[in-house]
């Protein structure tokens, strides 16, 4: 009998406290989405909490860009991390739930094509060569399995390919930029969810080629060789400067955060978003991505403060855009 009383009592408190909780407004900023942008958001969140001495809490998840937008368009999170612009079907599902947003570019990533340092024959590749290598084999043609099939001066050895898995935003952007159609890629390569697998694979195989975000190259420069990309205006090796000056094309990609306008009306979310844009220049560089110029962040800030809703991409994937162009366009819902 005593035990039963105890159980009833405990469950009573339990239900009471849960009830009380739902009335309490918590100052939490919820962010979720891309694992690429996560590294930047984590840095911002850490610094923001330090500066607020813990009075505002920030949580960041990694659901992937698509997963992030799914939650964002259900109104579950305040900010979505995205390594590509919002797509048409995501625009529609946000519209259905009457969720509006401000699109803020926050930095660049440079997709880097790497080979083994022992590979002496390739120093640069044209976009056409990369396309030939990565596109799904056109009907009636033999698939490319050896280096000399791309360029006759290269050796007749087997080529092994590494890259990110099909769920990754990096994969989406690379296929769009190189092959010309999003998600269109040959399938006989080693896909990995963790880019370190590609690092290890290419570092251990003379005939390998792979691609991933710049940070994975800059941490492993001693084990890998980056390939200069020729998009018709001469070869450009990926570097901080080349990305900043907009010459590393078409593999520089902008990264975004999307802020819910309803949330933006709350003081703590607004403070966080402002803090994000104000500190992006240093923090983006800290986590090995490429920041914009100060003047460009000022334009981003104008977009945030003016609460300019919508996207400038109209749901279509585009590759090779310079940040100036992106910022000069007017966002549309």
């Amino acid at each position: 009998m005593k035990k039963i009383c105890l159980i009833v009592f405990v469950s009573l408190i339990f239900s009471l406290s849960i009830h009380a909780k739902s009335k309490k407004e918590k100052t939490i900023v919820k962010v979720d989405g891309s694992s690429t942008v996560y590294l930047i958001t984590e840095a911002v969140a850490e610094k923001f909490q330090e500066s607020k001495k813990g009075s505002i809490h920030v949580t960041v998840g990694i659901s992937g860009t698509g997963g992030g937008f799914e939650k964002f368009c259900k109104g579950e999170i305040d900010i979505a991390d995205a390594s590509r612009p919002i797509e048409q079907k995501e625009i529609n599902s946000c519209k259905d739930k009457k969720i509006t947003y401000v699109e803020l570019p926050i930095g660049y990533d440079a997709l880097t094509v790497v080979v083994n340092p022992k590979n002496t024959w390739v120093n640069s590749m044209t976009v056409a060569e990369l396309k030939k290598l990565w596109e799904p084999t056109p009907e009636g043609q033999t698939p490319i399995t050896q280096w000399n099939q791309i360029n006759p001066t290269w050796p007749k050895t087997k080529i092994s390919l590494y890259g990110p898995g099909a769920k990754s935003g990096t994969f989406d952007y690379f296929t769009k930029a190189i092959v010309g159609k999003e998600k269109s890629s040959r399938a006989d390569y080693m896909p990995s969810e963790d880019d370190n697998t590609t690092v290890t694979g290419v570092a251990g195989d003379e005939n390998a080629l792979g691609y991933f975000g710049f940070a994975y190259y800059s941490e492993n420069m001693d084990k890998l060789k980056a390939i200069a990309i020729d998009s018709g205006k001469g070869t450009v090796i990926p570097s901080q400067e080349a990305v900043e000056h907009g010459t590393y094309q078409p593999l520089s990609r902008p990264l975004f955060i999307y802020v819910n306008t309803q949330s933006l009306k709350k003081k703590h979310v607004k403070e966080f978003a402002e803090f994000y844009v104000n500190n992006a220049q240093t923090l983006v560089a800290d986590v090995k991505y490429v920041p914009f110029q100060k003047a460009e962040y000022d334009m981003v800030k104008v977009r945030l403060m003016g609460m300019q809703q919508g996207t400038v991409f109209a749901g279509k994937a585009e590759a090779g855009l310079k940040i100036k162009e992106i910022l000069q366009r007017k966002p549309k819902i």
């Binding site: 408190i13 339990f14 009471l16 406290s17 849960i18 909780k21 939490i28 919820k30 979720d32 694992s35 996560y38 590294l39 958001t41 984590e42 840095a43 969140a45 850490e46 909490q49 813990g54 809490h57 920030v58 949580t59 960041v60 998840g61 990694i62 659901s63 939650k71 579950e76 969810e193 963790d194 880019d195 370190n196 690092v199 975000g213 940070a215 994975y216 800059s218 941490e219 492993n220 923090l283 800290d286 986590v287 090995k288």
Partner: protein, 307 residues
């Protein structure tokens, strides 16, 4: 003639003994190989991780600097989620086990239940995550919280708890039940005073092994929305004012050890990989600790039993 037969038989026996030896040798070699792999993995993990272990590693939140990052939110999250899992799974699992073993009539419904439980134990964990996302997160509106995570994992381990409870009950000789009933005990008295205490060791072992499976789960927790960066702890369960105990922590967002580890492993910087190894060591110590506890409890309860 007889000598010849004897010789034949001896030869046969000799041959068979050789097969015996060969088989046991193969067994030893295979066991040794498996253990070697495990040891190499463990040693590699320790070599990378142990130098990183320090007090501040346990008391720091995740950070963009590898040497400042720690697992505070992760280990607190893991312990809280495991507590909820145990509280939810143990009473239901043990009760279901006792019912199926002692009370249930052998008919088609019982058979159906038994088949389902066995099958449930083999369902991939991400399926539980998807179901929990639909039921706990959206239907019951529990949110992406410690409570949801705990309940999800408790569903995951429920079949294991049920099966091990039944196994433990089966090891009790039928004579015990008959003797107690002969002395006039009701079924409930038999269960309460004899079966439960005698099987406690086995039941505890089952529970702890189930929990040490749950502690390493990532997939279902990611599905329901476990976070990766969280630099604050859930509210304390104790308060200074009425009603003194708070359950707010149940609805708090969280992360757990394996998720934190996975995040660190997939980063480009090698220093984060060392953090991941260190977190791996902690996780392994946690589950070795739980297994040791299981062994101790089994030993303790077995010693108490006097038939």
């Amino acid at each position: 003639m007889t000598a010849e037969i004897m010789k034949d038989i001896k030869k046969k026996i000799y041959e068979h003994k050789i097969y015996d030896r060969v088989f046991s040798l193969i067994g030893v070699i295979l066991t040794f190989m498996v253990l070697m792999v495990l040891f190499v993995l463990l040693i590699d993990l320790m070599r990378n991780g142990v130098p990183r272990l320090s007090v501040s590693f346990f008391t720091s939140y995740p950070s963009r600097f590898a040497n400042r990052a720690g697992i505070l939110s992760a280990w607190v999250g893991t312990i809280l989620v495991m507590t909820v899992t145990a509280i939810a799974a143990v009473p239901i699992g043990v009760a279901a086990g006792i019912y199926l073993e002692e009370y249930a009539r052998k008919n088609w419904i019982t058979n159906l239940i038994e088949i389902n439980i066995t099958n449930l134990a083999g369902v991939p964990s991400i399926i539980y995550g998807l179901m929990a996302l639909g039921i706990f997160v959206y239907q019951l509106e529990l949110g992406q919280s410690i409570l949801t995570a705990g309940l999800t994992l408790s569903l995951l381990i429920l079949p294991i708890v049920i099966v091990s409870t039944r196994e433990a009950l089966r090891t009790i000789p039928i004579g015990i039940r008959e003797a107690a009933q002969a002395a006039g005990a009701t079924k409930w008295q038999v269960v309460k005073d004899h079966l439960v205490p005698y099987s406690a060791g086995g039941v505890f072992t089952g529970i702890i092994i189930a929990l040490s499976r749950a502690i390493g789960e990532t997939a279902p927790l990611l599905t329901i929305g476990a976070l990766t960066f969280i630099a604050f702890l859930p509210d304390s369960p104790f308060m200074g004012e009425f009603p003194y105990i708070s359950f707010d922590w149940l609805l708090s967002p969280f992360t757990v050890m394996p998720i934190q580890m996975f995040n660190w492993v997939s980063r480009p910087q090698i220093d984060f990989h060392k953090n991941a190894a260190a977190a791996g060591c902690v996780l392994i110590f946690m589950s070795i600790g739980m297994n040791a506890l299981a062994m101790y409890l089994r030993y303790k309860y077995r010693k108490k039993i006097q038939w």
